[in-house]
Structures are given as structure tokens and as C-alpha cells.
Assembly symmetry: C2
């Protein structure tokens, strides 16, 4: 494959970001900003993070960019640019590659993001690394260290769906709403609209749920030095989620990961405002717990009959 013709094939004809000074075509891209800039990188490797057995190339591109956009949303920022680095085995043809880019472009267009750089090299396994950048007004960055005792803990959307979809694909199993679960796995929608809506608030602690809520809650607890309690039966799940075994439900909703929903905490006073913003942005949001002072940072899970400690990996043990 000719590198230059490939670059021409994936290069955007028009750029959407008014702050872009120079896109693809020189030694580097240039942009101009009066807002703070948020930057993140995520890397995905075939057979580890994705597989052609469960995804088409289009889904792969879409999902890799979704993971990056979700990180930008978790910082309260508006997606703006992305750069793509790809390592491609010789066995892949140009059409499949263009499908990966088409998947990215499809999601990028929804958020008016521009592809401003990239590098494509040959290698043994398919690897995609995306650096994404976004804008956030000064002092509106959302840190995981901003949770405070007394806060309401909330989550968006439903959890465990992506994992359920993956399991259906891997096991070739049937279930109710199978297509919906698979869609959640292949084409996740990061919660940008709510994240931007929350800019109205002075303080919100935010994480995106990429590794499962057990892991993200622990990150907030550690960064903020607080005790975060999750009430198990409040964790939002899809209507047909109860068809799965109790163990599956429990594992998938707490540790399934890759739902790319948001986990956050706000003061009780601001909780109604969050609900209002959620309604405005058509984002399902649910209180799932609360924050308390802690001698040591930790996450508790309040089950029907007892409260246990919840580790990053989703394992529970006595307090």
C-alpha cells in the first residue's frame, strides 16, 4: 500500500473545528485555544482489546475513538481533535483499514472532531493508538479527587451491557435484546453531552467507566481520600438484564467495563441540578450511593443484607 495515497484516502476534506490552524499535510498540526486543553492517549491491540471474531473493522475504529472521547468527557471537556497511530499486519488490506477509519470518522463527526495527524507502520499485529484532545473552560476541569463527604454518588446509563454483548458474541448465545447488548459493546456512546452540561456546576468529581464501576469508584475514593458506598440494587441495569444469572449480573455490572458511562459525585445541594441537566441532555442518571469521611480511602458495597468492602477488581470482603 502506498503511504501517500492512503493518507489522501483518510484525510478530511473539510475540517470542523474553527480553532484549527493547520491540519494534516506538514510536519505537524497546529491549533489555537483560549480554553484549557485536555489530552489523553489510549492503545488497543488485536486479540487483546478487540477481535475480528466479535467486531467488524468499522466497530473497531468507532470503539477505540469512543474510549478516548469518554476520557475527555470524564475531564468535563469538549472533544476537538485526534491523532491516530496504527501498526498494521501485511495480512490486512486497504479496504479493511479504511473501514477502521470510517468507524472513527463516523463517531468523530457526531462530536465535530477533526483528525489532525497520524502515522501508519507495518508490524506483526494490528495496534491502534489514538491521542485525543479537547477543550474545557478554565477551572471547569473535572478531577476524580474532587469527591467530598456528604456527596451523592451517581452513574449514567446502564452498566454491564457491553460485557453482556461481548459474552453473547463470544459464546454465540441467544438472549432477549441481544442486538442491543451487542450494539452497546460495538458502538458505545460516550457521555459528552452531560459532561458539558455539568460545566454549570462548581464542583463535580468524575470518572468514566472503562474498567468497571468497582475500579473507577476506588480511583475516586483514593484520589479524594474518602469512603464511597455503592448501593448494589441502585446500580442501573437494562430492563432485560435480569435474564442473566445472579453471578453474571453482579460481575458484569460492577466489573464488566467498557460501558463508557460516567461515575460522579456532587453535593446534595447540586444533585437536583444534575438531574435537571441529565433531563436536558437526555442522559439517564441515577443516584447509586453516597460519600463519607474515611480514615482510609475505600469503597463499600451495600448489599441487601450486609455491607462489604469492594476492591478494584470487583472482589468483595468483610470491612
Amino acid at each position: 500500500m502506498d503511504e501517500f495515497s492512503f493518507i489522501d484516502a483518510i484525510k478530511q476534506k473539510d475540517y470542523k473545528q474553527p480553532t484549527l490552524v493547520k491540519g494534516i499535510g506538514d510536519d505537524a498540526a497546529v491549533f489555537r485555544s483560549t480554553s484549557d486543553i485536555v489530552a489523553t492517549v489510549d492503545t488497543f491491540v488485536e486479540h487483546i482489546h478487540f477481535s475480528l471474531e466479535t467486531m467488524d473493522p468499522f466497530h473497531i475504529g468507532y470503539r477505540v475513538l469512543a474510549a478516548n472521547i469518554s476520557d475527555l468527557a470524564a475531564m468535563g471537556s469538549e472533544p476537538a481533535f485526534y491523532l491516530v497511530s496504527m501498526c498494521i499486519p501485511k495480512s490486512w488490506n486497504q479496504q479493511a483499514l479504511e473501514e477502521i477509519y470510517r468507524g472513527m470518522r463516523d463517531l468523530a463527526a457526531k462530536h465535530r472532531m477533526d483528525l489532525i495527524g497520524g502515522d501508519t507502520v507495518s508490524g506483526d499485529s494490528l495496534m491502534i493508538s489514538i491521542t485525543a484532545m479537547g477543550y474545557v473552560p478554565k477551572d471547569k476541569v473535572r478531577y476524580r479527587s474532587d469527591a467530598r463527604p456528604g456527596d451523592v454518588v451517581f452513574a449514567t446509563g446502564t452498566l454491564g451491557d457491553s460485557r453482556a454483548g461481548l459474552e453473547m458474541l463470544l459464546e454465540g448465545q441467544e438472549c432477549k435484546d441481544k442486538d442491543d447488548y451487542i450494539q452497546r459493546h460495538r458502538l458505545p456512546e460516550p457521555r459528552v453531552a452531560l459532561a458539558l452540561g455539568l460545566q454549570e456546576l462548581d464542583r463535580v468529581a468524575l470518572n468514566d467507566i472503562s474498567d468497571g464501576i468497582a475500579s473507577e469508584a476506588n480511583e475516586i475514593a483514593e484520589a479524594s481520600g474518602i469512603e464511597l458506598t455503592i448501593i448494589e440494587e441502585k446500580v442501573p441495569v437494562s430492563q432485560s438484564f435480569h435474564q442473566f444469572t445472579e453471578k453474571q449480573q453482579y460481575d458484569w455490572k460492577l466489573s464488566g467495563g467498557e460501558d463508557f458511562e460516567l461515575l460522579g459525585t456532587v453535593s446534595v445541594a447540586n444533585w437536583p441540578k444534575v438531574q435537571e441537566l441529565a433531563a436536558e441532555t437526555e442522559t439517564p442518571v441515577q443516584q447509586i450511593g453516597y460519600v463519607r469521611e474515611a480514615e482510609e480511602p475505600r469503597v463499600l458495597i451495600q448489599l441487601r443484607e450486609e455491607t462489604k468492602r469492594l476492591t478494584k477488581s470487583g472482589y468483595t470482603h468483610l470491612k
Copy 2:
């Protein structure tokens, strides 16, 4: 290897950039700028772009970041931040990995750059992708499209050395100044000081010499729509470079690549100023040709007895 302990091992204790708002430790990094921002990504794969036969892990890290910094310099910008994405085979141990990071850190420190993000995954082959960002004052970005008829064409440093060093390493050959050539290959020094000095000028066309001057000159010619002539005997080479065969000299200095020097064009009126800035920044600089109007963009090479057309790959043919 535990991902979290590894991140702790490579995380900077102190950040150098005053514009950094948040470094590693949340969903993404945050910085604040009043200058324009330049962003570039470069990806390197073991056995294709580098090999442990010719480099230590320290050199690999150093050189990958050097390639990125060179792109920033070619845009006239000051290096500020970098994010590292790495794919690591299980056969690599943590010590070798930390050496790669130490190589990057060593070069980063010279330019006061901060590591603000990264992602490390497992895979079959070692791959390193760096996204680097720099600052440039508004309207001081250096495009390859800014060459004009009448311009002086100049190059920094000496060309062909990196390739000579690589050949010595691969062939296990001896030569005069062998260590210097090997050093140029393993630890290239991007020309940041001169690039920043040139900010005084209104117009400079710049490219960094990563793929060889034949390739870079053609990029300037095409982007600017001009004819660029290189005078072969003016192309700067090291003193002991004449020890190599005529064919080696010719190939290496025109197409060797990875010298990470700068190729530029400025008006005749500004050429003395470039020489002055070169002296101030202790950067060797040499006029190597001139720019003329062209019906079709092209690069010519003026040999002792004739002038030929020079293609991107370094191949010459009749005009």
C-alpha cells in the same frame, strides 16, 4: 508487570512546564496556552525502525522522542509535552522498559518537556508511539509551503552521518570517527535552538530531514509550487565522510535520512540574519541551493558537470 507500579516508576516527580495544569493521574492531562499548539505523532516498531542489534533500549527511547521533537522544531515550535503509547512483548523485562523511558526522559529534560500521559499494553512486537506537543507564537508557524522564488536554500549540521553510523553497526565495519557516526545514529539532536531563533523572521519554509534531503526538498517544492535546486557539492558532510565510496556518500547524504537536521528556505535579504542566528545558537548552517519559479514543482540537483532532476527517493534522471 503491575501496570500501576510501572506508571509510578515512569511518572515524573516534578513537572517543568509552567503551563501544565494536571499531569499524569486522572483520565487525561490538562494544560493552558496563549500560544498556538503544535501536535505530531510518530510510531516506531522493532525490527522495522530500530533493533536491539544496533541500539540499547536507552537509545531507542531517546531516538523516538528526538524524531518527534524534530517535527516540532520543523514547525518552529518549542517542545512542551509528550504522551507515550507502548506495546510490549512479554519477553521484555521491566528494566529494559525503564531504560527506554530513561532515554526519553534524558532528551526531554534538555528541552524542558513533560511526560503527561501514556498507555502500555502487551503485544507480539515492541512498538512505541509518541505524541508530542509544542508552542509557537501566533503567525510564526513554519510551513513547507512558504518557499518563494529567489530564496536561499539552507541545511543545518551535516547529512548522511546517521546512515553511516547505522551501516557501521550493521556491517560491523571499522571507519574513522566511527563512534561519532554511531552517536549521530543513536542519539540525534534535533535543531530546536535554531528553529526558535528563526522566530525573529517573518517567513521561513522549514522541514526536518527525517527521510533524507531528497524527500524533504521535494515536499517543500510541491507544497510551495516552486523549483528547488540543490548544489551537490554544497550539501554539508562530516570531515571524514569522504572515506566512504562515492556512491555511499551520494546515497547517504541525499537519502540516508534520520539526521534530524533542518532544511529551509529564506529570502536573500534574510539569509545574513539566518547565519547570525545560527552563530548565536551554535548551529552549523550552510547554503546548499536556491529557489526558482517553476511551471511544475520539482527538485534539481546541480552536479559538477550537469544538472539533473532529483526524485523523492533520491533517484536522479534527466530534466
